[in-house]
Subunit: 167 residues, 2 copies
């Protein structure tokens, strides 16, 4: 396979994977492109390479920066801005976990706590509801804490985890 084809295939695949995980395709593609670029890329070049509009590029770059996984870079004597991706995979995983926890898991926990706290009439139906949502709350909370702990390891948590869990 040619380098150009390989690069393209990687970007497409990463984009598709993103969609399946609730991240928009272009955002994932831009990230993929930056991940495999050995130097910072201008917005113009991103537009060109992914065949997307200026607005689209701008909005998704902004989103990626909000996630903390893409950075702006300034080059001496250049007016325009260049972009690079977080390339350290441990760091990337940590940032993604933290963001998803903050944006999705935490709000879900709030709701779970709320709905599991209704004062039940103790019909079997209501008892089961309270029981099940309480269990779910505990489970999600625990899972979220694991994620949180993992991010404390930061460097190489995954390798360490593998060692522990596979022992």
């Amino acid at each position: 396979m040619e380098f150009k084809d390989a690069k393209n295939k990687f970007i497409q695949t990463w984009g598709a994977l993103g969609s399946q995980w609730g991240i928009n395709k272009t955002m994932a593609q831009i990230h993929a492109l930056l991940m495999v670029s050995h130097e910072a890329v201008s917005m113009e070049d991103i537009m060109e390479e992914l065949q997307i509009s200026r607005g689209n590029a701008s909005m998704n770059l902004r989103a990626l920066m909000d996630w903390g996984i893409v950075y702006k870079e300034y080059k001496a004597g250049e007016r325009r801005e260049f972009f690079t991706a977080e390339k350290d995979l441990d760091e990337l995983a940590v940032k993604i976990s933290r963001e998803r926890s903050k944006r999705e898991i935490k709000p879900a926990l709030k709701v779970l706590k709320e709905v599991s706290s209704i004062t039940s009439d103790n019909t079997p139906e209501e008892k089961h509801f309270v029981d099940q949502t309480t269990k779910l709350y505990d489970f999600v909370l625990k899972a979220d804490n694991v994620l949180d702990k993992m991010t404390e390891y930061k460097d190489n948590w995954l390798a360490k985890l593998v060692v522990k869990i596979m022992k």
Copy 2:
């Protein structure tokens, strides 16, 4: 809060969370409904409660059964079918991990391996591409193996994991 409202809020929240994770809203809602129902529910009742069409209900129930997290149940003397959800959360997590691994991670690994194996001309650009995709392959493979190992614990893996990791 009233039971009815709590139930509804739970279903809506679960549905929204599903969308954010690339699972369609109705599918997540049906699952939520079945999770908190103390007994099996007919398709008719699912349609009624979620205000969805027969076709939609049928297709999403089928998908949930393909995922192995919803089961058909037959009641003596009843022609129609009833549905229940997997309510054991450890089991649920295991099944979801396995499916997502099979459907998404494995194919992605295949592509990563492929694109990281191009015979590089050794331009800095190509070297960086090969290097980065190789790292990504290793990382994803490791993460997938962790998931896989976790499913072997099956019961209570999460609790055990918490103990290990937080020690």
